[in-house]
Symmetry: C2
Subunit: 352 residues, 2 copies
């Protein structure tokens, strides 16, 4: 749905032809983004219009649903297919952030009369601002995520292991016409001190339990974390949770169009005070067809936050071999930040 | 389990330090391969020994299971972390098939006194020959795949849609301590004419139905396709199936150590005769930690087949809007080819 924007941008930069490659050692998700199909072994050639070149085994399926013209590459090499298509093009756009060095060297050797330009920023800038349809799909992915969390709460009594919860969640996506956007993280008690814990092999124990999951609906992702408590939290535990929750809510409230992506990250660190040394990742990341994409809300971010960006807000604190608390929502930056995942953030106490 | 081989190979090529990057826009699965953990946002520095640099949020988990030394990169930029580690190294190895052009340009600018060498072939050559432990894991992944096919046959009466079969298969992996190596392809009747059909939305109809799936067990994959028949096949259909089966069995029989990877592909095409125009992909592909890796058994293959390579043999014929037949096994090249997936290849007739 954004191929016209790409064509327009390329023209405005005087780029005669652009090649986006998702083949062998160069994996460019922009090929799927602009062609709107899962385009393995393919590449997109963009001139006045766009053509997706696919191997014979993908041709029939691709032609059914692709958003751009499809041609059969006949299993020929990329450089061989390009011959006859770019001989009149002088300035060639390539995604320097996706093409492998090997592949680029091959292109440069074969087409040594061409000038190659990096179009990664062009692609990034198109993807970073979501249009109406993209927002609609992300909202639906978020709604499904909320729904699954609700179902988890209704069924949690019979889920005794991290893996039970994992499988319960994974089984639900298909019922809602979605799939899992990433491997869910279910981390009970001290396992939650590892933000990306993936083993999911422990029995649920007393303490915080982190559930981080998201749906992918018609290619668009959501991402949400809720931290619940098994047993009765003591005063210290309640305070820690409340602190993270305050920081999360305040982050959502303070974000406005035009601020730098790193600014809410530093505000959150400041608000966490002494606890900030336990906050060992960025405050959030953009989300769309990838779970992690631009903009970044972290220390090294060079992004400025703008209308219709979609990203996560996820402060977290982690104490080694002890506990972890993270609260994460997917939000849309409209006039202000609108939460798209809406599961309750009050500390939920569950029976062991 | 192969890090020592890498260190030895680098030394023999006089490469002082190698950097393998799985971070941001450079995705090198070799980082996971050599470190034996899922190493997102990480990079591996290999000198006399190997160190995996991980972001703080991965540090605790990584240190528990990593096969090499782990250091916390403190969220610093790659070039900043490398300062102080490679100042005495002159010849630097980089995987040209995995590093993005952008990242390489950054390295070259920061370390303009270094010489960079492509180590993609070194990595490929280590991975292409499987050791005992790797073969053991692939065998187990194959055993699980056979087991799941058997369970499918026992339960197929109640599975009325492609999606029912898909979910049945996907649900089984966890029971065997494995996961799905890739999105299974379940393609009934005319859908099977698309070798990589993924929609899985149709009711099972009379005709061939293709099931292509595989397990991932302790990081190692299997890949198998069986084509069953719903209803009673007519003579022509039986003959087509028998032809593909003969080609598949003959391919397995004829492969020997020392032959070129493209040779069995051409033999299979020859044996298919007129049907070869319906055979629109390669005969097979290597398999290991990735479902598709080296060697290649196809037209463009430059590989020579050697002892302890593991690959698939999968001739297939596809007639648009009509039918598809593919029979695929994962095999190990020992003295001769040993089939690792062993589900029956007789044409199985199922009741609609």
């Amino acid at each position: 749905m954004k191929i016209k924007e790409l064509i327009k941008e390329l023209r405005s930069k005087n780029i005669d032809a652009a090649i986006l490659i998702n083949k062998e050692d160069s994996h460019d998700i922009n090929v799927s983004y602009f062609s709107e199909i899962n385009a393995n072994g393919s590449f997109l050639l963009v001139k006045k219009d766009a053509t997706l070149f696919v191997p014979p085994l993908e041709y029939e399926m691709a032609s059914k649903t692709c958003a751009v013209k499809v041609e059969n590459s006949g299993n020929k090499r990329l450089t061989a297919v390009l011959q006859g298509h770019i001989e009149k093009s002088k300035r060639i756009g390539v995604n320097f952030s996706a093409i492998s060095l090997r592949r680029f060297n091959e292109l440069k050797k074969e087409f040594n009369d061409k000038m190659f330009y990096d179009i990664s920023e062009i692609c990034r800038n198109i993807r970073i601002i979501k249009n109406e349809e993209e927002i609609k799909r992300i909202k639906e992915a978020c709604r499904i995520t909320d729904k699954i969390f609700e179902l988890f709460l209704r069924n949690c009594r019979k889920l005794k292991n991290e893996r039970d919860i994992l499988r319960f969640i994974q089984d639900k996506f298909a019922e809602f016409g979605a799939e899992s956007a990433f491997n869910p993280i279910i981390a009970s008690s001290r396992n939650a001190s590892m933000p990306h814990y993936e083993l999911c092999s422990s029995r649920i124990k007393r303490g915080f339990c982190m559930l981080d999951f998201g749906a992918k609906y018609r290619n668009y992702c959501s991402d949400m974390t809720r931290t619940v408590f098994y047993g009765i939290p003591n005063k210290k535990e309640r305070e820690l949770y409340e602190k993270v929750l305050d920081v999360q809510n305040d982050s959502i409230k303070c974000i406005r169009q035009g601020i730098e992506g790193k600014s809410p990250h530093y505000s959150a660190r400041k608000e966490l005070g002494k606890l900030s040394k336990l906050f060992i990742h960025g405050l959030g990341h953009g989300i769309g067809i990838e779970v992690h994409e631009s903009p970044s809300l972290s220390k090294y971010s060079e992004d400025v936050l703008k209308e219709n960006m979609v990203f996560t807000i996820e402060p977290g604190i982690y104490k080694k071999n002890n506990f972890g608390i993270r609260i994460e929502d997917t939000v849309l930056l409209s006039k202000k930040c609108v939460q798209l995942t809406n599961s309750s953030k009050e500390l939920i106490k569950l029976t062991l």
